[in-house]
């Protein structure tokens, strides 16, 4: 296993940010860490680099015990933080050069590593542009390239596409998918369901510091939301009626904006379908699982 976390607990005074997390990631696979803001995803990431110290539990990254051997683990890891902490006074190339040094890329390989990372980030033409002059998407690509300049074996991506345009997100997805194809192990936290569905081999859903579900996206769908959903529209009374009928038949529902989605629609009896009337059928997705597991209300 590239990563083994057992019973990790992290407390800040009265708050338990991580409450007994177990995680496993096989070499060369991508685990999507899903969860709402405040679920404990970023703290879990910091535990893996030794920048947060677990109060309980054990962590092993690439065979190294963390925090005791975190330096050895960090030498083989690449970290892409959620917050852009690039040095804005430096050019794209200079940012990469600095991190090639910090990650101890041998002197003879440094220039090639920086050129490779610039190409990876599609910033060859902007290599000598100051970072503050780059667009948000370019900066995010540079941030990812900075974490990959030493060709790590294990990459932590903390919300890699948060706040980006759909086009830029697509570009980054291709980049991350390329890592997986190359055999790099990836742990990616996200609250974009589509991102996890597209990129992750397995998904772990976190809520209130715990992993409350884990597995392949398709398995999670089968277990919690079924294969299809039917959305019913109407006034509030109508939506309440749909929810009541579905629940009475043992089918889960979730609110999706102005509609109610009845999940596991493939199990719906013809009689119930008649009662519920006309709806819009769609495939169930990880968002349905996510909302079912973490609740409909934002805390």
């Amino acid at each position: 296993m590239a990563l083994q976390v057992r019973g990790a607990v992290k407390r800040y005074a009265d708050i338990t940010a991580v409450a007994g997390v177990d995680l496993d990631i096989a070499y060369g696979t991508c685990l999507g860490l899903l969860g709402p803001n405040g679920a404990g995803k970023s703290t879990t990431m910091r535990l893996l680099t030794g920048q947060s110290r677990a109060d309980e539990g054990t962590i092993e990254v690439l065979g190294y015990h963390v925090p005791e051997q975190s330096k050895q683990a960090r030498a083989l890891m690449g970290v892409v933080p959620q917050q852009d902490n690039l040095d804005i006074e430096l050019t794209a190339r200079q940012n990469l050069e600095v991190f090639a040094h910090l990650y101890r890329v041998p002197a003879r390989d440094r220039r090639a590593a920086v050129d490779w990372a610039l190409a990876l980030a599609q910033l060859v033409d902007r290599a000598d542009t100051k970072t503050e002059k780059l667009s948000g998407g370019m900066r995010r690509r540079l941030l990812i390239a900075r974490g990959l300049v030493h060709r790590p074996r294990f990459v932590l991506l903390d919300e890699p596409t948060v706040g980006l345009d759909p086009q830029v997100r697509q570009e980054l997805w291709a980049l991350i998918d390329g890592l997986r194809i190359e055999g790099v192990t990836v742990l990616m936290s996200t609250h974009y369901i589509e991102e996890a569905e597209r990129l992750a081999d397995k998904v772990a859903v976190m809520s209130h510091g715990r992993v409350i579900a884990r597995g392949r996206p398709t398995a999670l769908l089968d277990e919690h939301a079924g294969r299809s959903a039917i959305e019913f529209y109407g006034n509030p009374e109508r939506l309440l009626e749909v929810e009541g009928l579905a629940h009475a038949a043992g089918l889960p529902t979730r609110r999706t904006g102005p509609a109610v989605s009845v999940l596991r629609a493939e199990e719906m009896s013809p009689a119930l379908a008649d009662k519920l009337g006309e709806g819009v059928q769609r495939a169930a997705n990880l968002e349905d699982v996510f909302v079912l597991l973490t609740g409909e209300k934002i805390e």
């Binding site: 110290r53 050895q72 960090r74 030498a75 910090l102 974490g147 790590p152 390329g178």
Partner: protein
């Protein structure tokens, strides 16, 4: 993914408590940045002592010609070295470190690489101290233009500036981790640094001060710096100078211990 000849990251074969590779990474960051701002730093490092020398030299110099056996330009030119070292080390330690840690989050990025907190603190403080050692020479050069006679002993001044700057850089780093906000530095500047540089024998001799102030000067690192610089310029006094250098080394060691502990508590939770 693009075609590449770059090999995968390799496991560390040997891990030491303090690694040069970790420190050179941090120094690379600093030297890359320094290429951008060296002009403004050099400007202020040269202009500031020039102003002090002109203001105090023409002001006090017209009233007193000899202080403690030195011509006033000799007394002042060597004393202002300590002020230049203090400003270039303590302020960098305080402001730059605070901004990098709190606003830019640069240190979070550095600590995600194979660099530990003590290596980060050691690298940052030695970099600042190196600059302080170099820029501490600026007042001597300016004073030479105003009539200070050069001497071979002055070649030791960069080392004295480095040792003093190391202590004050670490003091600044510690202070940056103690204060709740950047505004709080006002308390440190007014309450600690200003008294330190006034009661160090920089502009006037401490012999004229009350006894308690003279006693306090013995625990003022800047006083020891001033004494060492004067002895380097006008004649070493080995036993005294060992004492002064020891005091500066002790100050740096104490501040290093405090800075590392406080930075660790701020950066590793």
């Amino acid at each position: 993914m693009t075609e590449t000849r770059i090999s995968l990251a390799q496991p560390m074969t040997r891990v030491r408590w303090l690694e040069l590779s970790a420190m050179t990474g941090v120094w690379k960051h600093e030297t890359t940045l320094f290429r951008r701002y060296w002009r403004s730093t050099t400007f202020s490092s040269v202009v500031e002592p020039t102003i002090y020398l002109l203001a105090f030299g023409f002001g006090f110099g017209s009233l007193v010609s000899v202080v403690n056996g030195y011509r006033y330009i000799e007394f002042l030119g060597t004393g202002v070295v300590a002020t230049a070292v203090l400003f270039s080390s303590a302020f960098a330690g305080m402001f730059v470190t605070f901004i990098r840690r709190v606003y830019q989050k640069s240190y979070d990025a550095v600590l995600a690489t194979p660099v530990d907190v003590h290596e980060l603190v050691a690298a940052e403080s030695t970099w600042i101290a190196s600059k302080a050692g170099v820029y501490g020479c600026a007042p001597l050069l300016v004073a030479t233009a105003f009539g200070l006679d050069p001497s071979w002993g002055m070649l030791l001044v960069p080392l004295i500036g480095f040792l003093t700057g190391l202590g004050f850089a670490l003091f600044g780093i510690w202070a940056s981790a103690v204060v709740p906000s950047i505004d709080s530095f006002n308390y440190i500047i007014s309450g600690v640094l200003t008294p330190l540089f006034l009661v160090a024998g920089t502009f006037f001799p401490i012999e004229g001060l009350p006894e308690w102030a003279r006693a306090l000067a013995q625990v003022n690192p800047l006083f020891h710096c001033v004494q060492l610089v004067r002895h380097a310029a006008f004649g070493l006094q080995p036993l005294d100078d060992l004492y002064h250098a020891g005091a500066l080394a002790l100050f740096a060691a104490l501040m290093g211990f405090l800075a590392e502990r406080k930075m660790r508590s701020r950066l590793i939770d």
